[in-house]
Amino acid sequence: MSWTSDPILVVDGLVKRFGGNVAVNQATLEVGRGTIVGLIGINGAGKSTLMNCIAGMYRADEGRVEFDGQNLIGLTPHEIAAAGIGRTFQVPRTFERLTLIDNLMIPMLNRPESEDELIALAEAGLAEVNLHDLKMNNGEELSGGQQKLLELARVMMLEPKLILLDEPFAGVNPTLCTLITDKILQMKEAGISFLLVSHDLTSIYRLSDHIYVLNQGEVICEGGVDDIRDDPKVVEAYLGG
C-alpha cells in the first residue's frame, strides 16, 4: 500500500479542525527519501493547513506525523526546523529589514561554525541563487520573484533533509521559474526530499515523483503523474467543485 519503501515523512490520519470546520480530514501521505512529492487541490482543499500541521504552526487534533522515525506532534516549529524540516511560504516571508546576508544567517544561529565561516556560507548561498550582488541590501528591496529565491536560499541554510515548498512558482516570471525549478532538481540530486504544494499543475507534473490530491481536507487519490493526470476524480474535483 505504501508507494515508497523508504519514507522520510509519514503523515497518518491527520485531522485538523477549526471550530466546527474540518480543514484536514484523516489525511494520510508519505514522502520518500530523496523524492519530490506533489500535493494538489483546489483553493481551500486544506493544503496549506496540512503543511502548517507538519511544520508545527498548527497543532493537529488527531493523527500522527513521523519524520525520520521521530514523532513531530507537539513539537514547536523551531524544534521541527532543528529536526531537519525547512519550509517556504506561499507569500514570501523575508526578514524585510535585515540584509540578505543576515537573512541567510538566521537559520544558522545554532550552528557551531565561527562567524567568519557562517558569512562565507551565506555568501555562497546567495551566489547560488544569483543574489550575491544584493547581499548588503535589505530584504524589503527585493522583487517578489527575488524574494522567492531568497527564501529558497535561506531554507537551504538550515541543511534540511526535507523541504516543504508552498507555491514556489506563484507570481514568478518564467525566467525565474526555470531557475527555481533547476534549483529544486539540484537539491533533489543532493538527496533532499520535497513536499511541493502548487496550483501550477505543469510544474507539479514535471517535478513530482508521486502526487496526492486533496479535496475538502481528504486525500481523494494518489499516484504517479500519469495516474493523476487521467483520474476522473481529480478532474471532477477541479472542474466540478
Binding site: 511544520a55 504552526m57 514547536t76 516549529p77 523551531h78 526546523a81 532543528a82 525547512g86 519550509r87 511560504f89 516571508r93 523575508t94 526578514f95 524585510e96 529589514r97 535585515l98 540584509t99 546576508i101 543576515d102 544567517m105 538566521i106 537559520p107 544561529l109 545554532n110 567568519d116 558569512i119 555568501e123 544569483n130 550575491h132 550582488d133 544584493l134 547581499k135 548588503m136 541590501n137 535589505n138 530584504g139 528591496e141 527585493l142 522583487s143 520573484g145 527575488q146 535561506r154 531554507v155 538550515l158 516570471n173 525566467t175 525565474l176 531557475l179
Partner: protein, 333 residues
C-alpha cells in the same frame, strides 16, 4: 543575469562584489566606539568644569532608557507601554535599601536592577500577547504596581510624599553612576546587535512565525531581551533616586517616562543601535530650547513631534537616512 535586470532595485553595490563584510563591520564598530568615547569624555567633564549636571543627567537617563527600551521594542517589536514599572521599582527598591536597610547606594542600585529582573520574570507570561494587547496589559501592570506601592505602609515607602534619600546620597556620584550605566547599556546594545541573539531578535521582530520556522527559539530569545531591557530600566530608576534624592509614586511611575523612552528611541530609529542615542540628543536639546522659550507649548510640541515622526518618518532619523541612502548602513550600527 538578465533575470535580475527586469526586477526591482539596482544593486547599490555598496561594497561591490567580494568586498568584505568584516571590514564593513569594523568601520561601523569604530564609529560606534568613537561615539561612546566622545560621550564619556563629554559627560565626565561636566562636573569638572562645574556645568549644569541636571541637563546632562537628563540626556544620559533618556539615552539609557531609550536604549533599554530598544532591546525589546526595537529588536523584538513589542511596545511595552508600562516600561516605567521597572524604572519605578528600581527607584523604590534602591530607596528602601538605602533608607531602611542602610545598604550603601552603590549596592542598592544593582539590587534594584535584580528586582527588575524578577519583576520581568513575573511579567513574562504577558509576552505571549501581541500588539496592542501587550501594550495595554503592560500599562495596566505598571498602574497596578504604582497603586500597590502607594498602599504600602508609610514607614516603608514614604507614603504620598514619596521617599527622600537626598541627605544620604551624593549627587556627583549619582551622576557618574548614570554615566557608567549608560556605557553599560551602549556596550550591551552593540554586543547584542552583532550577536546571534540580537540577530534572532531582529528576525522575530520582522516575522516571528518565519523566524520560528527557521529554527529560532522565539520564546526564549524574547525572554532574554525582556530581562535585559527590564534590568537597565530598573538600574536607571535606582540611579535617578541616587541623583535627585526625591521621588514618589507619581514621578517614579509617570507614563511619560515610558513615552519619552519610546519617542527618543523612535526619533533616532528603533532597531538601530545608534538611533536611541541620536534621538535622545536631538530631543533633549530641543526640549531644553522649547522649555526655556515657550514653557506653555512644551507638551504640545512633544505631541506634535511624535505625530510627525509617526506620519512622516516612522523609522526615525537614522532609519530614514538609511532607507534613503542605503550606503549609510555601512557606517551606522
Amino acid at each position: 543575469m538578465a533575470d535580475l535586470s527586469q526586477t526591482a532595485p539596482t544593486a547599490t553595490g555598496a561594497l561591490g562584489r567580494g568586498s568584505d563584510i568584516k571590514r564593513q563591520r569594523r568601520i561601523r564598530r569604530a564609529i560606534w566606539y568613537a561615539l561612546i568615547l566622545a560621550i564619556v569624555i563629554w559627560c565626565a567633564m561636566v562636573p569638572v568644569r562645574d556645568g549644569n549636571l541636571s541637563i546632562y543627567f537628563a540626556f544620559m537617563l533618556g539615552a539609557t532608557m531609550a536604549t533599554g527600551l530598544n532591546f525589546v521594542a526595537g529588536f523584538t517589536g513589542y511596545m511595552p507601554f508600562g516600561y516605567v514599572a521597572f524604572y519605578g521599582l528600581g527607584s523604590y527598591v534602591t530607596g528602601i535599601a538605602v533608607k531602611l536597610l542602610g545598604i550603601p547606594v552603590y549596592l542598592a542600585v544593582p539590587m534594584g536592577g535584580c528586582a527588575g529582573i524578577l519583576l520581568a520574570l513575573a511579567f513574562a507570561p504577558t509576552l505571549r500577547l501581541s500588539g496592542i494587547y501587550f501594550a495595554i496589559v503592560s500599562l495596566s501592570l505598571a498602574i497596578i504596581l504604582q497603586r500597590s506601592i502607594a498602599l504600602m505602609p508609610e514607614e516603608i515607602t514614604g507614603g504620598s510624599l514619596g521617599m527622600n534619600i537626598g541627605v544620604l546620597t551624593d549627587r556627583i556620584q549619582g551622576y557618574y553612576a548614570m554615566l557608567v550605566v549608560l556605557v553599560m547599556a551602549l556596550l550591551t546594545a552593540s554586543w547584542l546587535a552583532e550577536s546571534r541573539l540580537g540577530r534572532s531578535l531582529k528576525a522575530i521582530r520582522e516575522d516571528a512565525e518565519a523566524a520560528d520556522a527557521m529554527g529560532v527559539n522565539v520564546v526564549r530569545s524574547r525572554l532574554y531581551a525582556w530581562l535585559v531591557s527590564a534590568f537597565f530600566a530598573s538600574l536607571v530608576g535606582g540611579v535617578q533616586a541616587w541623583f535627585t534624592g526625591a521621588f514618589d509614586t507619581f514621578t517614579a511611575f509617570d507614563v511619560l517616562v515610558t513615552a519619552k523612552a519610546i519617542i527618543y528611541a523612535m526619533a533616532g530609529g528603533l532597531g538601530t543601535v545608534i538611533g536611541p542615542v541620536v534621538g535622545t540628543v536631538v530631543l533633549v536639546w530641543a526640549d531644553e530650547l522649547v522649555w526655556r522659550a515657550f514653557p506653555e507649548l512644551n507638551s504640545f510640541l512633544l505631541g506634535l513631534v511624535i505625530a510627525l515622526l509617526i506620519l512622516f518618518a516612522p523609522r526615525g532619523i537614522i532609519g530614514t537616512l538609511i532607507r534613503r541612502y542605503p550606503r549609510l548602513r555601512n557606517y551606522f550600527m
